[in-house]
Amino acid sequence: MAKITYIEHDGAEHVIDVKPGLTVMEGAVKNNVPGIDADCGGACACATCHVYVDDAWLSKTGDKSAMEESMLDFAENVEPNSRLSCQIKVSDTLDGLVVRLPESQH
């Protein structure tokens, strides 16, 4: 299990044990963490699972695909550390990961 901390825009923290193999998005949705809608269920089609990855973890979460890059390009409130959480696979190396959620997913 990897411990992942999801921090809502208002500061509310959710610390969740996520099974390796799931995505960071699935870890949130399956535990009803508010703020990650994931309309498309992980098909990289909607950009409603946008998160900010804590800088210390950026290198460990891997690279963005061209598809993710171009979806994020048009999402709102995008920062250099923005990712689509459905594209980050959880593994033991992400134990301790911290992600912050944007104000809205639209």
């Binding site: 535990n31 508010p34 498309c40 269920g41 098909a43 089609a45 598809m67 390009d73 809205s104």
Partner: protein
């Protein structure tokens, strides 16, 4: 102030239908701080799950029951959402605010959410009841279809809509043959423009999918109770091992009709997903909802719609502001194609293709004057994302700029 206006965090909520809409409504109620009892009744034996992968990843063995589930079983326990899987509601008793189950049990509600979905339209022709004549709405349907597919098998798909195209692509990935049979002269005839239809037809054709267009199906032929072929109106027979019927869906609105709720191709609701009875909501595929952007009522079959209405109903029940209105959107994955559609092409007077169709990277814009009504984007996320935002804001665009793919969508939108 009445409970309806102020919200009631302790109300007893009964949700009929445990699909994406029903399951999400329970989850949003808890997210919004609802503390009253929630009962979720579904006629399938499974926890609420995602249906879109059924025609894609599930058929190809890339998804399983656990990965499809919206939430794990423990979540329902922890969140105190009482599940009645395999439960069937036979009657809504509005006068005393109860529902009757097939078992005879009667459950009271403060608020009722109808999320009964839609069912596959079947063809009333000889042989429709043969084994191997399948629909694709549920995991059980998908399991039957999966067993029918495999190296060298032949799948006949009746109906060239998105479900049929996705299933054909999955069949090819599994080494099966697939033939798409369509009554109209082109696939996606009801839902897409000519440019997109012919693109998908060519793409599937190049990957070995056969087509029978302008083809009327007269009967399914069988041996020993199992389908063996599709008989066309002109007398020809196409041999096959299984048939997938994908000719649209019908709303499961009988309960609502019997209860006297207003129904027009689904249960009529307002922008809070409320039906003509203020204690009853209807969400997802079963609802006939207002689309403010297009100034009309429509029935949408999509996950984003199910989620949006689940939020509307949950927000109305707890008395918080509803979600921001969304542009209807859809997606489909076939082979290496990602199709993303935003908006609906109502009242469009011009169709504009931007990008390179031959390179499978383009978008079709449906315009009403200088307003974008809808965009269908194939492997073109910028067009989809920017198009969706322009539709939402009703921003006029320069049609000349939009037609020029060398001008970025950011500049078109600026």
């Amino acid at each position: 102030m009445s409970a309806v206006e102020s919200g009631d965090l302790n109300a007893r909520v009964v949700i009929v239908g445990a699909g994406h809409a029903g399951g999400s409504a329970a989850a949003f109620l808890r997210q919004y701080g609802h503390t009253g009892p929630i009962t979720l009744i579904g006629d399938e034996p499974l926890l609420p799950y995602q249906r879109p992968p059924l025609s894609k990843g599930w058929l190809k063995g890339e998804a399983d029951a656990e990965s499809l589930s919206l939430k794990p079983a423990e979540w329902y326990e922890e969140a105190k959402v009482s599940l009645r899987l395999g439960g069937v509601v036979t009657r809504i008793n509005r006068a005393d605010q109860t529902v009757t189950l097939a078992s005879g049990e009667i459950l009271p509600y403060g608020y009722l959410i109808l999320a009964t979905g839609a069912r596959a339209r079947m063809l009333p022709i000889p042989g429709a009841d043969l084994a191997g004549v399948l629909a694709l709405r549920t995991a059980a349907d998908a399991e039957l279809l999966k067993t029918a597919l495999g190296e060298g098998k032949h799948l006949a798909v009746v109906g060239g809509g998105y479900v049929g195209l996705e299933a054909a692509a999955s069949a090819r990935a599994l080494g099966a043959h697939a033939t798409i049979i369509e009554r109209e002269e082109r696939v996606l005839a009801r839902v897409a423009c000519h440019a997109l239809s012919s693109f998908f037809q060519d793409y599937h054709g190049a990957r070995g999918v056969g087509f029978e267009l302008n083809a009327g199906v007269e009967a399914f032929e069988g041996e020993n109770g199992h389908v063996t072929g599709v008989k066309f109106a002109d007398g020809r027979v196409l041999a096959c091992d299984a048939v997938l019927v994908g000719v649209g869906a019908l709303p499961n609105d009988e309960l609502a009709k019997d209860a006297g709720l207003e129904c027009v191709n689904g249960v009529v609701v307002d922008l809070e997903a409320r039906t003509s009875d203020p204690k009853i909501f209807a969400i997802g595929d079963v609802s006939h909802r207002p689309l403010s952007l297009y100034e009309r009522q429509f029935r949408l079959e999509s996950v984003p719609n199910a989620l949006e209405q689940a939020k509307q109903a949950a927000a109305a029940i707890v008395g918080r502001a509803g979600p921001a209105p969304e542009v209807p959107w859809f997606w489909s994955d076939q082979y290496d194609l990602k199709l993303q559609i935003a908006g609906l092409p109502f009242d469009a007077d011009q169709i504009l293709v931007r990008g390179d169709v031959a390179a499978a990277r383009f978008a079709v814009f449906h315009l009403k004057g200088d307003l974008i009504q809808a965009v269908e984007a194939v492997n073109a996320p910028p067009e989809f994302m920017a198009g969706k935002q322009l539709i939402a804001k009703r921003t006029p665009v320069s049609v000349t700029k939009l037609a020029d793919a060398t001008i970025s969508m950011k500049d078109v939108a600026a």
